[in-house]
């Protein structure tokens, strides 16, 4: 059997005296596009932070590319939910994306022509070429998210972790960000945390429902109508969006 890209076993994370994750066992394989859904506080971000090595689990083990979390940083790309940065920070889109090459550089090694070429490619992929010289503080929510995705892509990750990349983005931009991710499917392993259960169910290969414990659903590339509602044990639209989940299409 193939070695999983991410292997979590018996994961338990206790934060502030509360179990945020419990008994979580999850294997992610090469080429997977996993959607992680679940209510707020269900532990989605916590799981990503554990995989990134930013948070140490209370119990259980995590292996990322067979190593402890944080050890294979050059192979993992990360798109945070929101970037808390100073809007006045003097840096342009190009400079922000270039920082994504940091994981490929040693100490004292300077950014070179190769890094600039990768930046050009990532800007092209994310459609940011025309605004590459714009200050990061002047970007819209959608542009900033694309820039963060570009920053993650520029390091040539084999595993891409995205934490609600569409949380602060208007509907039009959401679709284009999902289209962008769909284009990446197959090129790398993707774990996507999202509230957009409708959008997710149509695009991912597997859905993980996280509410402290995990329910994994891998019936192929689509979910039968109503699956998400069943998993949540209450109507999915009550979680965040005041709109019903569109029926999941089958066979695409």
């Amino acid at each position: 059997m193939k070695e999983p890209v991410v292997a979590c076993e018996g994961l338990r994370v206790r934060l502030g005296g509360v179990d945020v994750l419990r008994g979580l066992t999850l294997s992610v394989f090469e080429g997977d596009f996993i959607g992680i859904v679940g209510p707020n506080g269900g532990g989605k971000t916590t799981l990503l932070r554990c995989i990134l090595g930013l948070l140490r689990p209370t119990e259980g083990t995590i292996r990322v590319f067979g190593d402890p979390p944080g050890a294979s940083f050059g192979r993992v790309g990360y798109v945070p939910q929101r970037l808390f940065f100073d809007r006045d920070f003097p840096i342009d889109v190009e400079g922000l994306v270039l920082m994504g090459r940091l994981s490929r550089k040693r100490l004292l090694q300077r950014y070179g022509r190769d890094d600039r070429r990768k930046v050009d490619m990532a800007l092209e992929t994310t459609g940011l070429g025309p605004i590459r010289r714009r200050q990061v503080g002047a970007l819209s929510g959608g542009e900033l998210q694309r820039a963060l995705i570009a920053r993650a892509l520029v390091g040539d990750p084999e595993l891409l972790l995205l934490d609600e990349p569409t949380a602060s983005v208007d509907p039009d931009m959401k679709t284009s960000i999902y289209d962008l991710l769909e284009g990446l499917r197959g090129r790398m392993t993707i774990m996507l945390v999202s509230h957009d259960t409708g959008a997710i169910s149509r695009r991912v290969t597997r859905v993980a429902c996280l509410n402290c414990t995990l329910d994994m659903h891998e019936e192929g590339s689509s979910l039968p109508h109503g699956t998400l509602d069943d998993l949540y044990r209450y109507p999915v639209d009550a979680i965040r969006h005041n709109q019903p989940v569109p029926p999941a299409r089958t066979g695409d």
Binding site: G70, Y78, P90, G95, M99
Partner: protein, 273 residues
């Protein structure tokens, strides 16, 4: 008149000190401003007074006492804020007051009168001895070289510390390195504006420069030029009107800051932003 001024050795030393301290304060001050660690820097500077007292008590050049004490303050405040369950401003406040207290005690223990104490507190750029100038030059070289060698890591932890960690950068270590560079910058600037007012020259030129810069290196260059400008104008005004040089430099910087803010304010309201 310029020729007349430059014919004095103390004036040449003063201008050299202004130039050297401006380089350190333009580079490190930019990090202080974008990383928003002005209060930490103030804490390090004031704690450094303990080092001045230590220097007097040991009978060595007080600047030599400032180097270890300010480095200790940088590491102490940084580690307490990062690792212990202490809020950062509490750690800063404690170090700030304790450092000053240690300085006062040591000066009290030192027999006789503490010469030039006032100049360490409030700066006196006109009395920088050659030995101090050499020390400032050396520290300046260390600061510039370190900032240059680790610029991509320092940029990364200043902009987005979590992402830096995820990228494999030991971000706490680099944060402590940055605080240590601030500590050395404090030593460089003590002679110019004194430990009480270091914080203004560390933040004001960089804060003004940020408004007009599109990248961190550009901000550093502009902040260096502004810092030099304020120092030289302050020095010239203090010479003309026989005022305390450190205080005059600070007031020039503060006046420029206010002017730039006011100009930005009127322009901003005109554009109805």
């Amino acid at each position: 008149m310029v020729h007349e001024i430059l014919s004095y050795e103390f004036m040449r030393n003063a201008l050299l000190a202004a130039l050297l301290s401006s380089v350190a304060c333009g580079i490190i001050g930019s990090y202080v401003v974008v990383r928003r660690i002005g209060f930490i820097s103030g804490g390090i500077a004031h704690t450094a007074f303990g080092g001045i007292g230590l220097g007097y008590w040991l009978g060595v050049n007080p600047l030599l006492g400032v180097i270890p004490v300010s480095l200790l303050a940088a590491l102490g405040i940084g580690l307490l804020g990062k690792k212990a369950k202490v809020s950062e401003d509490t750690a800063i406040g404690t170090f700030w007051a304790a450092g000053m207290a240690v300085g006062v005690i040591f000066i009290g223990l030192t027999p006789g009168y503490a010469p030039n104490l006032f100049s360490y507190l409030f700066g006196n750029i006109l009395t920088v001895p050659s030995f101090d100038l050499w020390m400032i030059f050396l520290l300046d070289a260390v600061i510039v070289a370190t900032a240059f060698l680790f610029q991509k890591e320092l940029l990364a932890i200043s902009f987005d510390e979590e992402y830096a960690s995820v990228s494999g950068v030991p971000s706490t270590a680099f944060y402590l390195l940055l605080l240590s560079l601030i500590a050395l910058t404090v030593v460089v600037m003590v002679r110019v504006v004194g430990i009480v007012m270091v914080i203004a020259l560390l933040t004001v030129p960089a804060a003004i420069a940020r408004r007009f810069s599109r990248s961190l290196p550009a901000m550093m260059a502009l902040a260096t030029v502004l810092s030099l400008l304020f120092s030289v104008i302050g020095l010239w005004l203090s010479y003309l009107f026989n005022l305390a040089s450190g205080a005059t430099i600070i007031l020039v910087a503060a006046a420029a800051f206010l002017l730039v803010q006011l100009a930005g304010f009127t322009r901003g309201s005109a554009a109805e932003r």
